[in-house]
């Protein structure tokens, strides 16, 4: 019958243990940061969402599977370099070789970025905070572009580090690596704007996925068929232009023009005007997509 805990010494204050204090409502006195902070927070949140971080395990499968596939050529190349001392896949050809994987990633993840906010009507919550529609569009585009950049740049960098470690005979291909890194920025911005704008037109994810993948298949098929037909009638000049219908070869043409790398198609791109025209086309597509996005969200905001 001795319970020393429950018998406080006379005069000593009672010492309760394990009591939850309801301290009531506390006002927030700390700093309130501006639009830039909110923009960065939304970009980071979206980027995490693209890779399924902070979401269910099912949401992580697709992005990480595709990111893993993107790494395969780099890993194989490093093995090849280590074993037979010859370069495997070249830096400037990496994105073009892996274009199908990039297209699938874009198609699978860009609807994830914008469709739920429209479908579950989260957008009004963003717009009732100090965030404008322009901020929202910029953050979403930046997140998708960053994701695409990571998808291309990480394998390139791993490959480059591998090359340095293996120490091939002759100087390292630093120039090619840097050219490919710069081009991956162009890839990222172009692909992100096309993917996000297509996905933003429907609140349903399935339709968004289908639209993006259909655009890629259509453009690459038209390009391939035209090239085949024009080559068979010996109009090689026209065939060189037909390559540019495929967005991946379009950016490759810009890469060839800017950095003097080897073209990654059969037969090269149009000489002379080809490079500048491709560059203008890339910029025009990006501008068109961003304008469409801003208009799309201005309409969504007022409804």
């Amino acid at each position: 019958m001795s319970e020393p805990v429950s018998v406080p010494a006379p005069g000593a204050p009672p010492t309760p243990t394990g009591v939850i204090h309801d301290i009531g409502y506390r006002h927030y006195e700390g700093p309130r940061l501006g639009r830039g902070h909110a923009l960065a927070a939304l970009t980071l949140h979206s980027l995490r969402g693209i890779f399924g971080l902070g979401r269910t395990a099912r949401g992580k499968i697709m992005p990480f599977l595709l990111a893993g596939v993107m790494m395969l050529p780099a890993v194989v190349s490093i093995a090849v370099m280590a074993l037979i001392k010859r370069q495997g896949v070249s830096y400037p050809s990496y994105a073009v070789t892996m274009q199908a994987v990039l297209a699938v990633f874009l198609a699978a993840q860009s609807p994830y970025l914008v469709a739920p906010d429209l479908r579950f009507r989260v957008l009004p919550l963003y717009l009732s905070r100090p965030t404008t529609t322009a901020d929202y569009v910029v953050a979403k585009l930046a997140a998708m572009a960053l994701a695409m950049f990571l998808l291309i740049a990480v394998p390139l960098t791993v490959l480059f580090v591998g090359e340095l470690l293996v120490d091939l005979p002759g100087p390292p291909n630093t120039g090619d690596y840097l050219a490919a890194m710069a081009t991956s920025v162009i890839y990222a911005v172009l692909l992100a704007s096309v993917g996000v704008v297509l996905a933003s037109f429907t609140p349903r994810r399935g339709l968004g996925v289908a639209a993006v993948i259909a655009l890629y298949l259509l453009s690459s098929a038209i390009s391939a068929v035209l090239v085949g037909v024009l080559m068979s009638v010996s109009r090689d000049g026209a065939a060189a232009w037909a390559w540019l219908i495929n967005p991946f070869f379009l950016v490759d043409a810009v890469q060839v023009w800017l950095f003097g790398t080897n073209p990654n198609n059969d037969g090269g791109y149009p000489a002379g005007a080809g490079g500048p025209v491709a560059a203008v086309a890339v910029l025009a597509v990006i501008a068109l997509c961003v304008t469409a996005l801003v208009l799309r969200y201005r309409k969504a905001a007022s409804s």
């Binding site: 927030y28 940061l33 949140h45 269910t56 919550l125 009732s128 965030t131």
Partner: protein, 302 residues
């Protein structure tokens, strides 16, 4: 202190006029905005947040103009929409933290505030589960938490009791009362049930078809519409006769008698009458008034 005011505020959509020269003002505390569906309540909130431009007229919220200072208003105001607005695949904690950051709170502060706010609205362990598995009551709490997480000076709550069961409604109304008093945050709450708002509001604004029907403090409202409802097991005819004889205005609604309260003495008269007639009293309560009663009254005044 006036927290919001409008002057001749008008909003015309291509097909309908949502607000028609609305002039209102509201002070701090809890203000109820009552109107039938389509009366223009949600449109008014969107105009006040600067999400829609008005066709005519002006407004001020916390002394700021939605037309030119909408970002400053949105920094100091919280908004709980009427519709569902929650992504199903993130947890309430993650969502609320993100929304706090979107209002400009640094990440660590956002985490603290989100945990505090979710506790205040009554979400505990379940806040780590994805929102997709929540009941309607829990969703309403998350919606409320995201509106409060950045400690606003004013919150707009659009139909917060929508879809809740009677217990959930009572909890939500008690929470709204706490926000207005204990938390010290001014509240504008919309509903189509006046009886519901009577319990939590300091002031009530009634709009219909985009026009102001009535704006007054809750005391004036209840004084003008006070009545009591009496239910006895048997002999309500005898009771009605006796009360009428005592000079009270009595109307019968089936088994219920409604008596207009002319003075505090009415309660005594009813009590004495029930006792003298030796009746079994089942119910004696204040009459609940629905928005329809106000409409009927206003129309009969015109």
């Amino acid at each position: 202190m006036t927290i919001l005011a409008t002057e001749g505020l008008t909003k015309r959509f291509p097909r309908v006029t949502a607000l028609d020269r609305l002039t209102i003002s509201a002070g701090s505390g809890v203000t109820g905005l009552v109107g039938a569906n389509g009366a223009g309540k949600s449109t008014l909130i969107k105009l006040l947040l600067g999400l829609l431009p008005p066709t005519e007229g002006t407004a001020t919220v916390l002394g700021l103009s939605p037309a030119t200072q909408s970002l400053d208003i949105r920094r100091a105001v919280g908004y709980m929409p009427e519709h569902d607005c929650l992504p199903p695949d993130v947890s309430a904690t993650e969502f609320t933290v993100h929304m706090a950051q979107m209002s400009g709170l640094p990440r660590t502060a956002a985490r603290e505030r989100a945990a505090d706010t979710l506790r205040h609205v009554g979400l505990y362990e379940e806040r780590y589960r994805p929102i997709g598995g929540y009941s309607t009551g829990m969703r309403q709490r998350v919606k409320l938490a995201q509106a409060l997480v950045h400690d606003p000076q004013l919150v707009f709550l659009d139909e917060p009791t929508n879809g809740l069961d009677p217990q959930g409604r009572d909890d939500m109304l008690a929470l709204i009362r706490r926000i207005g008093t204990e938390f010290g945050i001014s509240v504008v709450v919309t509903s189509h049930l006046l009886g519901e708002l009577e319990r939590v509001c300091d002031n009530v604004i009634v709009i219909d078809g985009g026009r102001l029907l009535r704006s007054s403090s809750i005391e004036e409202f209840t004084q003008a519409t006070q009545s009591i409802t009496v239910e006895v097991e048997e002999g309500q005819e005898a009771l009605a006769e006796r009360l009428t004889a005592a000079g009270q205005r009595v109307t019968a609604h089936g088994r219920l008698l409604t008596i207009d309260v002319s003075s505090p003495g009415t309660y005594d008269v009813v009590r004495d009458a029930v006792c003298d007639l030796d009746l079994s009293l089942v119910r004696l309560e204040q009459g609940r008034h629905r928005i329809e009663d106000v409409f009927r009254q206003e129309v009969s005044h015109v």
